[in-house]
């Protein structure tokens, strides 16, 4: 039951993009087409889950035993940067088709604050390892849900007649606001 609550809460109620404002850059940047949105979601899910597992072990077996938790920020970001490189190299060798699909998005992920944000949230919520995996996966799904919905709306927006000053970023932000308003309907569910 707790796992179910974690999943519902991370996907809908506390959606990582629309309620917590993490990962806004890729949310605005790669949402022009549904297909790129799906590719980005795949890459984010992959890296987010692995990064959360690795940082969880670092926090609980290195930082806490040696009482150097103030090194959290610096160690997590280095681990994530290294991990993204590693994932890229391994994917290239092991699964070329998957690399073809996700390759262009991987370098962008190092500066995606959603990855670091979820890693830090997992630690601050005192999750055990299973809860951490469930939470990171659900967060990534929530990211994908928001991104793909948004991309679908933006594809339609291309066909609309938008006032000059509102074209581009402003209309995208207003649409995101209305989407966030819709997601607020889930508030209080958990």
């Amino acid at each position: 039951m707790t796992y179910f609550l974690i999943i519902i809460s991370a996907i809908f109620v506390n959606n990582i993009v629309l309620a917590q404002f993490l990962g806004i850059c890729p949310f605005l940047g790669v949402s022009k087409r549904i297909s790129t949105g799906i590719g980005m979601t795949g890459a984010v899910t992959f890296v987010m889950v692995i990064a959360t597992i690795v940082t969880w072990f670092i926090q609980n077996y290195i930082l806490i035993p040696f009482s150097v938790t103030y090194l959290q920020t610096i160690s997590f970001i280095l681990v994530i940067a290294a991990l993204v490189q590693l994932v890229e190299i391994v994917l290239k060798k092991v699964s070329p088709p998957l690399y073809q699909a996700l390759g262009v998005f991987l370098p962008l992920i190092t500066t995606n604050c959603a990855i670091l944000g979820v890693a830090i949230m997992t630690v601050s919520k005192d999750f055990n390892i299973v809860e951490a995996v469930v939470f990171s996966m659900a967060s990534a799904i929530g990211f994908g849900l928001a991104l793909i919905t948004f991309a679908g709306i933006r594809e339609q927006l291309d066909l609309m007649n938008i006032p000059k000053g509102m074209q581009g970023a402003p209309i995208a932000l207003v649409v995101a606001g209305i989407l966030a308003l819709a997601f607020m309907g889930f508030a209080g569910m958990v």
């Binding site: 917590q20 993490l22 605005l28 500066t111 932000l173 966030a180």
Partner: protein, 194 residues
């Protein structure tokens, strides 16, 4: 380059938020009040100036291939300093900004200036560039924070302006952040063209 131009470009011509659309996460996440926006902006400005300073000092010693990880370590160092100082001296602000303080590390504005400016220019220009960009970012955050606080709760910098029950609560919540920023950018685009 003219140092005044170098400083002032961060406010309007190359404003990180309004023109370059960088650093959107803290911009939207912490601006539920003007004070929070100001705190976040100043913290980011400090990191920007110090990171620019150090990067421009060590740029000749860092091999080209590992420069991005090296920049990230430099930035993370100053973010950790900011985190500890804020926790000690302004605990209320530290709690309000929460997760977004460690996330200054992945703020594209900071890494972007280190890569695009400090790694190519001398120490003096880099400090001025960091200060201009940081204060421009702060200005954007304070503007958005003031608008959201005023429309949402009837307060401005914590001082009552009109009765609270006339406020539109949505502007303090998540959707209001997106909508307010969208219209703010649209208005600025309008003036830029004129």
């Amino acid at each position: 380059m003219n140092q005044w131009k170098n400083f002032s470009k961060g406010f309007f011509k190359e404003n990180a938020v309004f023109t370059l659309l960088l650093g959107m996460c803290p911009t939207l996440g912490v601006t539920s009040s003007a004070i929070n926006g100001l705190g976040m902006g100043l913290a980011t400005t400090f990191v920007l100036i110090m990171a620019n300073l150090v990067v421009s000092l060590v740029k000749d010693f860092i091999p080209d291939k590992v420069r991005i990880p090296a920049f990230i370590v430099i930035i993370a160092t100053f973010v950790t300093i900011v985190e500890m100082v804020m926790q000690a001296y302004v605990p209320a602000l530290f709690d309000a900004l929460g997760l977004f303080i460690p996330l200054i590390v992945v703020n594209c504005v900071v890494l972007g200036r280190a890569e695009a400016f400090a790694s190519k220019n001398n120490v003096g220009s880099s400090i001025i560039d960091g200060a201009g960009m940081g204060l421009g970012f702060t200005m954007a955050l304070v503007m958005l924070g003031s608008i959201r606080e005023l429309l949402g709760s009837g307060f401005l910098f914590g001082l009552p302006v009109y009765p609270e029950e006339y406020g539109m609560l949505v502007f303090v919540l998540a959707p209001g952040a997106f909508i307010a920023l969208g219209y703010l950018i649209a208005i600025i685009n309008r003036f830029k063209r004129a």
